[in-house]
């Protein structure tokens, strides 16, 4: 293949041929199997180049983010100021508050065990981080059945986590009674523990 043919293939792959040139090119592609192989090989090379260029950019980005995070953590570690002292004190208050709430909400070992079980079941970070209202919404309006069922399951788990056993029970019973529900077995398992 000469450099003229090479450039013609390149122009075709980069969509730089005129309408008439493209028609000629495609007609030759159909007739000439050797030419077809040449075009295919050049196309594969360009896909590879494109991917390697993206990969290089991705690696650069990863290094930048890691450098930023390292600098950030060093700054936090070496420059204690009044703000960090106050925030540490505030954290202690918050932790104490949460502990008080936890003790009052789950006042028996069974409840604590249940809370751990709920945490274990919440494996999907996206669903876990959705606001409660969104979960309720998805459980009713999502176009796919699996998404609706998953959201319904998470609504029940959130109720459990909030200590609203009555509301959770109602949904779990509904899920457990439906053998086609994606979370049928999990719901049954939790109901047995309640």
């Amino acid at each position: 293949m000469n450099s003229g043919q090479f450039e013609r293939i390149e122009a075709y792959l980069h969509d730089q041929l005129s309408e008439a040139e493209r028609r000629d090119f495609e007609s030759e592609l159909q007739k000439n199997s050797i030419f077809r192989l040449e075009v295919e090989a050049q196309k594969n090379l360009y896909t590879g180049f494109q991917a390697l260029a993206i990969e290089k950019k991705l690696n650069d980005s990863k290094k930048r983010i890691q450098a930023q995070q390292t600098a950030e953590s060093k700054r936090r570690f070496f420059v204690p100021n009044q703000w960090s002292v106050w925030s540490a004190a505030a954290s202690v208050v918050v932790i104490l508050g949460i502990s008080w709430w936890a003790v009052n909400s789950f006042d028996s070992s069974k409840d604590i065990e249940l809370s751990a079980l709920v945490d274990k079941e919440m494996t999907d970070i996206q669903y876990k981080s959705l606001p409660f209202e969104s979960l309720q919404n998805i459980s009713k309006t999502a176009p796919s059945r699996i998404a609706r069922e998953k959201a319904e399951w998470y609504v029940a788990l959130v109720y459990l986590k909030k200590g609203k056993a009555k509301e959770a029970n109602k949904i779990l019973a509904r899920i457990a009674q439906n053998p086609k529900h994606h979370y049928h077995l999990q719901a049954k398992r939790i109901l047995q523990r309640l």
């Binding site: 293949m1 450099s3 090479f6 450039e7 090989a41 050049q42 594969n44 090379l45 360009y46 896909t47 590879g48 180049f49 494109q50 991917a51 390697l52 260029a53 993206i54 990969e55 290089k56 950019k57 991705l58 650069d60 980005s61 990863k62 930048r64 983010i65 494996t123 999907d124 970070i125 996206q126 981080s129 699996i146 994606h182």
Partner: protein, 193 residues
């Protein structure tokens, strides 16, 4: 330093920036998704290293799909959510592979083997790896020229300056080197068939 947009950007801005390989958009994906994804993989039978591999593979394939037009922009669709889901599928595919199959149960009802699009995307990794190997077999100036032109996107003029050559000679050299590379690549693909 990456130039970030001064005001909050839309999903369309992000899509366009990813298509043009803007640094700020790539950085945004890393910041937004790396930790949640790593957390998810570690909750689903993987290690942090598995998470990094699956994330890298998923991002690479997805960004290639954006550039080639296989993934098109859709209104009201959050790109980070789509990428997160895509990377999840990549990890589920790893879990379903022979390396893990016998050790861990699948965490979801999704069967990656039936996902034709994903399988086609992952097959591209083989092609990428062959092109990478072929470039590594090129020597000296040729390898450098190929990397500058096709991967770093330098112009023929810039490369001519770097190699202290005339533009016309550099243009001819680019053709010669790409031809050499094509022969190596074809040889490698024949060996693996």
């Amino acid at each position: 330093m990456p130039t970030k947009p001064t005001s909050p950007f839309s999903q369309f801005d992000l899509y366009q920036a990813l298509k043009q390989r803007k640094d700020w958009a790539y950085d945004f994906l890393y910041k937004e998704l790396q930790h949640p994804f790593s957390y998810w993989v570690q909750r689903n039978s993987g290690t942090q290293m598995d998470a990094e591999d699956a994330f890298h593979k998923g991002l690479l394939n997805f960004l290639l799909n954006i550039e080639t037009g296989k993934y098109q922009y859709h209104d009201n669709v959050k790109i980070t959510t789509v990428i997160f889901d895509y990377c999840k599928k990549v990890w589920l595919n790893e879990l379903a592979s022979s390396r893990f199959k016998t050790q861990v149960p699948m965490p979801d009802s999704y069967n990656p083997a039936n996902d034709i699009d994903l399988q086609r995307d992952l097959e591209q990794n083989e092609l990428i790896s062959q092109v990478r190997n072929a470039i590594h077999q090129l020597r000296g100036d040729c390898r450098q020229l190929i990397e500058w032109f096709y991967i770093d996107n330098l112009s023929i003029r810039e490369i001519a300056e770097l190699l202290s050559m005339k533009e016309s000679s550099t243009k001819q050299k680019r053709y010669d080197c790409t031809e050499k590379l094509k022969h190596i690549y074809l040889k490698l693909t024949q060996q693996t068939q």
